[in-house]
């Protein structure tokens, strides 16, 4: 989940005291990671990008506390556009969408410009999928010389932010120096850019120009958002526009030529309606209609009742609300999860275990009774452990392999349990003998492109007199306990075992497992200096025959 670090001062000056912050944040479904001197770090759920910044966060908290009330049309853009954005050539097949607006009378003094830049970065990282899906550019409106064109081309030039001279787009990329953006542009094969008729003001996901640089003295801004999803681009622009409206600045839309809408950002209040009992049914509590309206207000939603139906208006910054259910959750949050009383479900049912799980349990208790302790190993392992160390050959095609593991030794899923148990013996050199271990668990194999998941039991037995006869007895007695008195034995060859001291078991004519004395070379590979006898059986093969 995304976390955001904010200046504590920004929160307290907006009227929320430090002491009540953790609880309020928690009630909204976030969690306060730490308060560290002047800073506070908060974990925000990924559906609420509007909370990744101090204005949005304090707005939500103050609404919840009832300190402010949602107002009708507060976030509706009524003014006439000052600027026109035209969508030109070349962007359609790479980064097709743009949304933008202008701001006059903004105040970026003090720490406010930093807050804004931090928010921009956060949005890029999370909602914008590291600028791939969406990125934002802020410009000084007073330095914009004419209407704006958004287009893409292979060549062009711009004076990159932080530099004194105009250079080619290729040079700008070197100047910006981030591999990730380089990757995005390379995917496009050209540069999507925004210009004002006189000059290029930004290469969309990468960098702005020097001329339109925003400083803490900037009062008038042009904000452009570009990306590959209209939905995301417009949502980000709406959240930003609401932020400027809340700060007291005037926000004007831009007219859009060649886009999805005639004007951007498209920020309407969205209406949802639902029958009144639906909320009670979903939450399991009988609310009064008036209470629901108040609770909706506490989450920033406008609400009204008309006979048995409820109407809700969702402000543009609440991009997470996509259905009536989201509104019901808001009601629950405003009411407080801790106040919801547990309600027993009417109607009983009979608990039923899975058959193979039950069988596995009986194998475990049988082996415990025979003096074997239980091990549990990870399913992920390495070829070295699973095959090389036990001298087993393998076919690459039959091994379930992961594409990339952060821990390099975890590259495959095990095909057999026995090697894991041998490595456990190797980790138990300090403990006294005899050492008897078993494990019931999953094993994996690929056959004809399909993954076969099997359930096996393996046992190892290490002590100075451990031998074929003892493990044979263990296997036979185990099968007897499980109700299988008839089984066949065949001489088997498995490089993990000593030749001539290894047998395979058949139950009802089907191979069900293998046992024998472990090969000396294998013992030494694991640093073991006493004989070990081992067995591995497949539970499906055993119980497939006996369970019915």
């Amino acid at each position: 989940m995304p976390t955001v670090t904010l200046a504590l001062e920004g929160i307290t000056t907006r009227g929320i005291d430090k002491e009540s912050l953790p609880k309020l944040v928690d009630r909204l479904g976030m969690s306060l990671e730490k308060i560290d001197g002047k800073e506070v770090t908060i974990e925000v759920t990924p559906d609420r990008p509007d909370l990744l910044e101090v204005n949005g966060l304090t707005r939500a908290i103050k609404l919840l506390e009832g300190k402010i009330e949602p107002k009708e049309n507060r976030y509706t853009l009524n003014g006439a556009p000052k600027l026109k954005i035209s969508i030109g050539k070349g962007v359609k097949d790479c980064r097709p969408f743009i949304s933008g607006f202008t701001v006059t009378g903004a105040d970026l003094s003090g720490g406010k410009i930093k807050e804004l830049m931090n928010f921009q970065e956060k949005l890029h990282e999370t909602y914008g999928r590291r600028r791939k899906k969406m990125s934002i550019g802020f410009h000084n409106l007073d330095s914009i010389e004419g209407d704006v064109v958004y287009e893409a081309s292979k060549k062009g030039s711009m004076t990159p932010l932080g530099s004194g001279k105009s250079v080619s787009f290729d040079e700008v990329m070197k100047f910006a120096g981030e591999e990730e953006w380089d990757e995005i542009i390379r995917g496009y094969g050209k540069y999507p850019h925004v210009s004002d008729g006189k000059k290029v003001i930004s290469i969309a996901p990468v960098l702005n120009c020097e001329e339109t640089k925003v400083t803490e003295k900037t009062e008038n801004l042009f904000v452009e958002v570009t990306g590959t999803s209209w939905h995301t681009v417009n949502d980000a622009a709406s959240i930003l526009a609401c932020l400027f409206i809340d700060s007291g600045a005037e926000v004007l839309p831009c007219s859009l030529v060649g886009g999805k809408t005639k004007q951007t950002p498209a920020m309407e209040y969205r209406e949802f309606r639902m029958p009144y009992p639906k909320i009670d049914r979903t939450l399991g509590y009988a609310f009064r209609a008036d209470d629901i309206i108040t609770l909706a207000n506490r989450m920033g939603l406008l609400a009204a009742r008309y006979s048995s139906r409820l109407f809700f208006m969702v402000p543009p910054y609440r991009v997470d609300v996509i259905s009536a259910r989201d509104i019901i959750e808001d009601i629950a949050i405003a009411y407080g999860y801790e106040r919801i009383n547990p309600l027993p479900i009417v109607g009983t049912s009979i608990g039923t275990p899975d058959e193979l799980e039950e069988d596995a349990e009986s194998v475990c208790s049988a082996l415990l009774g025979m003096g074997f302790s239980e091990a549990l190993n990870t399913y992920l392992t390495s070829e070295a452990q699973c095959f090389d160390m036990v001298r087993r050959e393998y076919d690459k095609e039959s091994v379930v392999r992961v594409a990339y593991a952060k821990t390099e030794s975890l590259s495959i899923l095990r095909e057999s349990i026995m090697p894991s148990l041998l490595s456990n013996l190797s980790a138990s050199l300090q403990a006294s003998l005899p050492q008897r271990l078993f494990e019931v668990g999953s094993v994996f194999r690929v056959e004809k492109g399909e993954v076969l998941e099997g359930r096996n039991v393996a046992m190892v037995n290490e002590h100075s007199r451990s031998n074929f006869s003892e493990i044979k007895g263990t296997v036979a007695e185990l099968l007897k306990v499980l109700g299988i008195s008839k089984f066949g034995l065949k001489e088997a060859k498995d490089p993990a075992f000593i030749e001539g001291r290894c047998a395979s078991i058949t139950v009802n004519g089907k191979t069900a497992g293998i046992f024998g004395e472990i090969h000396p070379e294998v013992l030494l590979n694991f640093g073991l200096e006493e004989p070990v006898a081992a067995a591995e059986l497949n539970l499906e093969a055993i119980f497939g025959q006996s369970s019915k």
């Binding site: 049912s349 390099e408 994996f444």
Partner: protein, 477 residues
């Protein structure tokens, strides 16, 4: 004195000084018991034991895997072929050793091999030669060996090469022909000899002969407890595959296709098999529609087919919804649970494992509510002795409303997030073909486990050191 001790002393009185192996042969007592008897005699000051120990080295399985080439060698070799882009596919360990050996340098943001690599690679790499010497059992202490140990590729083991036992004057003076009956022999019993002779009293404070009870794995005990709680609460157990398609693991759960958890960094994608078939094409097209309307973005069927190691048992849950939501002859509410392994691509340390256990559940029924869900979860945790839980809002792509379960750990004085749940989104239930309500949750098992056992590191759980298994405390429920 124990019979074994008497037998050993008798031999020693004659021989004075004996090699352990000779003693084993002469007494006919097996190694483990003989050692126990000797330790007892030593504790009584009757014998002296001289152990000659030898430090040896063995390979770890990771070390064994590198016998044919260390990662840094592979990295330098491929950089020598063609400069490599520095991204997440370059192993950290390989890179740091290749740099330390002066084999690679960064040129224009890319990794290139140096002249030193050419020189070194023809000589043979010291660490790998050391690795081979370990394999052959010829390794001696050296800098290269130390490096291997630090990297976890080899480990030292102390082996006893010989044991010499000498009798002390006190031992020589010890009476071994003590009168009376020692161990109760059949003959003495049947013949009535036990009536005529004194049965010798034992020292009740003497150490007992070692024996080791078989123990089950604590994690399994925890799983058994959780299973029995669900079964008592009327739940049907369901199981599902561990290797799962992205369709069931992500798409069917309304997780957007461009979501960060669907990157290689977090999830184990497979290279063999790379793709899995999705049989139910009708369901696929419904899920596709759900994504297009819900997330307003394109849906790629190829991504759906990508094979992953399931990241949660919620994949079993959603399969359950599809299977049971409209099944005939079902009584609703229908309760299902599952418990099993799940996987996350993590760098393993004391706090993180790449695999752990999760338990999931659903209840399918009509008009089920958030208050019902809270009731079920409270009852579940109460049966595990955890009354101190609370619920807070949360977010999951597949539930709405959603909640998170918080548990207050009194001993540590901290709150732990131990699970999540909610009401399955209508978009999903509709795609699965039902109008019924589905309550769902996924709860962490390993966190409860660490709490229960009081173990500080989670890796401890999968080491299976028999010494630890034998001596670990039982679970308190």
């Amino acid at each position: 004195m124990h019979e074994y001790e008497i037998a050993v002393l008798k031999i020693l009185k004659k021989e004075k000084k004996v090699d352990f192996r000779e003693l084993e042969k002469a007494s006919g007592i097996d190694k483990d018991r003989l050692m126990w008897a000797l330790e007892n005699l030593k504790a009584g000051g009757l014998v002296e034991i001289q152990k000659r120990e030898e430090k040896r080295y063995v390979l770890t399985d990771e070390g064994l895997g590198y016998l044919h080439g260390m990662p840094e060698e592979k990295l330098a070799a491929s950089a020598a072929e063609k400069p490599i882009r520095l991204d997440s596919s370059v192993g950290k360990i390989a890179l740091s050793w290749a740099k330390r050996n002066g084999w690679v340098e960064i040129k224009n943001g890319k990794l290139a091999a140096t002249a030193k690599w050419k020189a070194d690679s023809s000589k043979g790499y010291g660490q790998r030669l050391a690795l081979e010497s370990v394999k052959e059992g010829k390794a001696r202490e050296s800098e290269a060996i130390d490096a291997l140990i630090k990297r976890g590729l080899a480990k030292p083991v102390v082996k006893v090469s010989s044991i010499i036992v000498t009798i002390t004057p006190k031992g020589s003076g010890m009476e071994t022909e003590a009168g009376g009956i020692g161990a109760i022999a059949r003959e003495a019993l049947v013949s009535g000899a036990w009536k005529k002779e004194r049965i010798r009293p034992y020292d009740i404070n003497a150490p007992y002969e070692a024996f080791y009870p078989a123990r089950s794995h604590p994690l399994h005990e925890m799983i058994k407890t959780i299973r029995s709680v669900w079964l008592r609460m009327g739940f049907i157990e369901s199981v599902g595959p561990i290797v799962e398609s992205s369709f069931w693991n992500f798409d069917a759960l309304f997780s957007p296709q461009d979501h960060p958890t669907r990157e290689m960094q977090d999830t184990f994608f497979l290279s063999n098999p790379k793709l899995l078939d999705i049989d139910d094409l009708e369901l696929l097209s419904k899920v596709k529609r759900m994504h297009k309307t819900g997330w307003k973005q394109e849906f790629n069927e190829e991504l759906s087919r990508q094979a992953v190691l399931r990241t949660h048992t919620t994949s079993v849950t959603v399969r359950g919804i599809q299977k049971f939501a409209n099944a005939l002859k079902q009584n609703y509410p229908l309760r299902l649970f599952s418990i099993g392994r799940v996987f996350r691509n993590e760098t393993i340390d004391y706090k993180h494992l790449a695999e752990f256990y999760q338990t999931d559940g659903i209840i399918i029924g009509d008009n089920l509510s958030l208050a019902n869900l809270i009731d079920v979860l409270k009852k579940f945790y109460a049966q595990l002795g955890m009354e101190q839980i609370r619920f807070k809002p949360s977010y999951f792509p597949f539930t709405e409303p959603s909640l998170e379960v918080q548990y207050y750990d009194e001993e540590r004085g901290e709150e732990l997030e131990i699970g999540g749940g909610g009401i399955i989104r209508q978009e999903i239930t509709k795609a699965m073909g039902t109008d019924r309500t589905v309550l769902a949750w996924g709860l962490s098992v390993d966190r409860l486990m660490m709490h229960r056992l009081g173990i500080p590191t989670i890796t401890e759980l999968y080491k299976n050191d028999i010494g630890w298994l034998r001596s670990r405390p039982s679970l308190k429920v």
